[in-house]
């Protein structure tokens, strides 16, 4: 198919799609309408019933917690798939001393980048922990905080070398954290089944609204998700960096003789 044929085909199907989309948008509630009942009910119930001031967290971890479990395992499966896809192939080898054109000038990472990245590691990790811990109070939680925590690890790579990053965070340990986070979510849900009668039922002391140690098991769920997402992103980063920096394809067997 030439580019021109493809473009014509796209314009025709896009026109059809545009008609369908516009017809669909026509049926949508007007912008700023009084709102769906379910959302209003949750807004009214979240604080008195669950002691959670961030209603989005209340939806994600209590009222709709099972969906979040599935979402967490979508992420888990995707990380596994990426690590598998980027695994060293039969025709690849690790090559740490990779500069073939020796003698040329290689620009070093500037000291400004190194110092700034290193200085930001601590605050970033602290901020990530804060976001994870306050998921039930203010916008945030395990998903968002986990990504911030993984950013802290990426800063270590920016400040140093790939080998430092790999030495600091061995894959087996990170995989363990990811697995632990994912399973902890299931275990917390099963405790809810045992105590409250339904899977992921809220358990534990509800505490005082607005306090860090309130909302029962929800902070625990956030910590488990934060561990899984943070570790998962570190695995993703590590897989991409390894593929780009360390792994090299073997030269074809009869190309140059010595390799």
């Amino acid at each position: 198919m030439t580019r021109r044929t493809r473009l014509r085909l796209f314009l025709v199907s896009a026109a059809v799609l545009a008609v369908v989309v516009l017809a669909g948008f026509g049926e949508l509630p007007a912008f700023g309408h009084p709102g769906a009942t379910f959302g209003a009910v949750l807004n009214a119930l979240s604080v008195p019933q669950r002691h959670i001031t961030d209603v989005v967290t209340a939806v994600n971890f209590t009222y709709r917690g099972v969906d979040t479990l599935a979402e967490e395992f979508i992420f888990f499966a995707a990380v596994t798939a990426v690590v598998l896809l980027l695994a060293p192939g039969d025709d690849e080898h690790a090559d740490h001393a990779s500069d073939a054109a020796t003698g040329r000038w290689v620009p070093q990472t500037s000291d400004a980048v190194r110092v700034l990245a290193l200085a930001l590691v601590g605050p970033t990790i602290l901020f990530g922990l804060y976001i994870v811990a306050h998921g039930h109070l203010t916008p945030g939680g395990g998903f968002q905080g986990g990504v911030v925590l993984a950013t802290g690890v990426l800063l270590v790579y920016l400040a140093g070398e790939y080998t430092h990053l790999h030495g600091l965070y061995p894959d087996t340990v990170v995989e363990g954290i990811e697995l632990g986070g994912a399973s902890a979510f299931v275990v917390i849900g099963l405790i809810g089944l045992a105590v409250g009668g339904t899977f992921l039922a809220t358990w534990g002391p509800l505490g005082q609204v607005g306090q860090l140690n309130s909302a029962g098991n929800v902070p625990l769920l956030n910590v488990s998700v934060g561990a899984e997402i943070g570790a998962g992103f570190v695995l993703l980063l590590s897989a991409f960096l390894r593929q780009t920096i360390v792994l090299r394809r073997h030269p074809p067997a009869n190309a140059s003789g010595s390799a």
């Binding site: 912008f31 001031t53 989005v56």
Partner: protein, 113 residues
């Protein structure tokens, strides 16, 4: 104002699709798919908006009118799924570049041979 949010969602959908069709670079193509997905974020948040309402966080003002939290939670799910799809596709792109030495989608037709 009332149609602007829905218009932006439709615009993101079609401009992203246009980018995918016209793409000559696989990384660009993956990012175009992310743009298409951004249309769903805008649509979800627009559907949940209520005139004069605040964010569904009651840490400060208990009892005020807030926007729909359900679509915002869906949006969060959407972001997570979007990220994983992007990561997965970029991993495929890395391998394609490694095997074929090219990032042009049009060069992929020979893969089956």
């Amino acid at each position: 104002m009332s149609v602007l949010a829905y218009g932006v969602a439709a615009w993101l959908l079609f401009v992203g699709l246009w980018g995918i069709v016209q793409s000559r670079n696989l990384v660009h193509l993956v990012i175009c798919l992310a743009v298409v997905q951004a249309a769903t974020y805008v649509l979800l948040v627009a559907i949940g908006y209520r005139a004069g309402a605040v964010a569904p966080v009651f840490a400060v003002r208990l009892g005020t009118v807030a926007v729909d939290p359900v679509v915002q939670a869906l949006c969060l799910t959407d972001v997570v799924v979007g990220t994983t799809v992007t990561a997965l596709l970029l991993a495929l792109v890395v391998q394609i570049h490694k095997r074929t030495g090219s990032l042009d989608p049009d060069s992929l037709r020979d893969l089956g041979e």
